[in-house]
Subunit: 313 residues, 2 copies
């Protein structure tokens, strides 16, 4: 039998090239029940780079008390120094985290805000306004040091406490992040409820508010199986930065294959079929995610990984 | 917390209403290791109807030797007679099967052909031309009896033996099915390799060959996680008939949650968000699929079912 691969059939009005912002090592592994050993994380990131990913969010400088899974940031980050050709953004929650990251030479920083008050309260114990005020000096200082700054915005489509999130509310929070100095935004569908028309409506409203599409990344979760069709809608709008997580890492660790982020492999399958360049070797990437799934002791939630590596459930 | 639901945000240039052709009881259950009891099948179909599905492919009149899982068609079909408002198409492989179906009063018939020689040989032990010749009298007789005839066409995008299937080859087989008298086509991505540009290319080529979009249904498999984005591309082309399987039934029964057909729930979530009417109650449908998953002893592969019914893996 011929190994399955998508036939290349470009669609009209889509970008020619996409930047995949790989979040597995950070957004995926921070959700694991127990911390993955530093050497495994380092090997994972090296394998992802070898598979062709060029932007890999490596870790987070959040206080170890809050995210013990990533408490080894100071050891891990230096172990990636040989990956000079790969962008290795790191998440920072505050000025102390930024200092730690900059001291290690990080040149791409990410901060995280919420579009809803409920999640700002739950995640940051602050109002949206207070959290933005907290990030203002962080972003300013990162920019002074020459770093590129990404602003994550959570709950851009729905919120578990508030239901559907009004588009103008998201636009306002997004504008605030850019006004602080963020170079790019990542619009998060944290609970996975978005659908394609909602995606287009938000992107259009952001454009209307003066936010150009090339400063917007999208970050979809696959909780209801919608992540890839939402991504297609974003591509059709002209978005060229897509967040994804190798093997779909990032679900709740207490459910055996609960789905979290859009799986990078499922994304690459579609992009490859559409003739959109990513530079990723799908076979190598799937093998890496299957290897990581073995380390974590449960199968990958990515359908492409399961199909290409014959992982049985 | 608010129960999660998509916000309604219609997209431009999409159909206002979609007909979901539910294939779970036939395409799903024929792939089970062991036959599901007739009473369970009947209850399943009744529950699907109560959830609002209006076209439910009920069973197959294939020889019991080939598909023992559906050997109870003669008992099951009469048990659905109270569902007068629901279309209950049945699959027939040949004239004998058609006679059995018509004798029970079936008014919607489906036949199945292949776009590739390899699969025609494997599945029907005939060439494509021979299988079409075999179906000619079946379709003719079904039409004479006043039945509506659907023609399934397998391997429209990729084939496990032949790789990518050329679009003109699919168009030719599709035209042949319509020339036999089929009222509608169902274009199957049997191995799940399609991507959105390929979908659009095939639909456009069919239009160019004189096949109107309103006679085309699409039938995607989620093997590589592509089914819903391919469906979105088909909707954007104007397709209004979409095949789906409740709970995503239809994967290989030997893998615990191997994915088969597009899950009806994942589809309904997207359609509901897009403001496209389906008449389906998503909560009831998900509960039905969770109930069926319990009967089958393994979790549903549908992400929406798992999320809405809190099925842990």
């Amino acid at each position: 039998m011929t190994p399955p691969l998508p036939m290349v059939a470009p669609a009209e009005n889509l970008p020619k090239r996409i930047r995949i912002h790989e979040v597995g090592p950070r957004d995926g592994l921070q959700n694991e029940k127990t911390a993955v050993p530093t050497e495994v994380k380092a090997e994972f990131i090296h394998r992802l780079a070898t598979a062709g990913l060029t932007t890999i969010e490596a870790t987070s400088f959040v206080h170890p008390k809050w995210v013990p899974q990533l408490a080894d940031a100071e050891t891990l980050y230096p172990a990636l120094q040989d990956l000079g050709h790969v962008e290795l953004p790191v998440l920072v929650p505050n000025e102390r985290g930024l200092q730690r990251a900059l001291a290690l030479g990080a040149s791409r920083i990410a901060v995280f805000a919420s579009a809803t008050e409920s999640f700002a309260k739950a995640n940051l114990n602050r109002t949206v306004a207070e959290s933005l005020a907290m990030f203002a000096p962080v972003v300013a200082r990162a920019k002074e040091s020459g770093a590129h700054v990404r602003g994550y915005l959570s709950m851009c489509f729905g919120d578990p406490w508030e239901g559907a999130v009004p588009v103008p509310q998201v636009v306002s929070a997004a504008r605030s992040l850019l006004d602080l100095g963020c170079d790019e935004l990542s619009l998060g569908d944290t609970i996975g409820v978005a659908t394609p028309g909602h995606v287009t409506a938000l992107l259009s409203a952001l454009n209307d508010a003066g936010v150009p599409t090339d400063r917007i990344g999208v970050h979809f979760h696959d909780t209801y199986g919608q992540a890839l069709s939402n991504t297609l809608a974003a591509l059709q709008h002209g978005v060229t930065t897509v967040d994804a997580s190798a093997g779909g890492l990032g679900g709740c660790p207490y459910a055996k294959i609960a789905t979290g982020n859009l799986a990078t492999e499922d994304l690459v399958w579609m992009l490859q079929g559409l003739g959109i360049e990513t530079g990723v070797d799908l076979g190598r990437l799937s093998a890496t995610s299957a290897w990581m799934a073995d380390r974590l002791g449960r199968p990958s939630p990515s359908r492409t990984v399961r199909a290409l590596t014959h992982q049985e459930q």
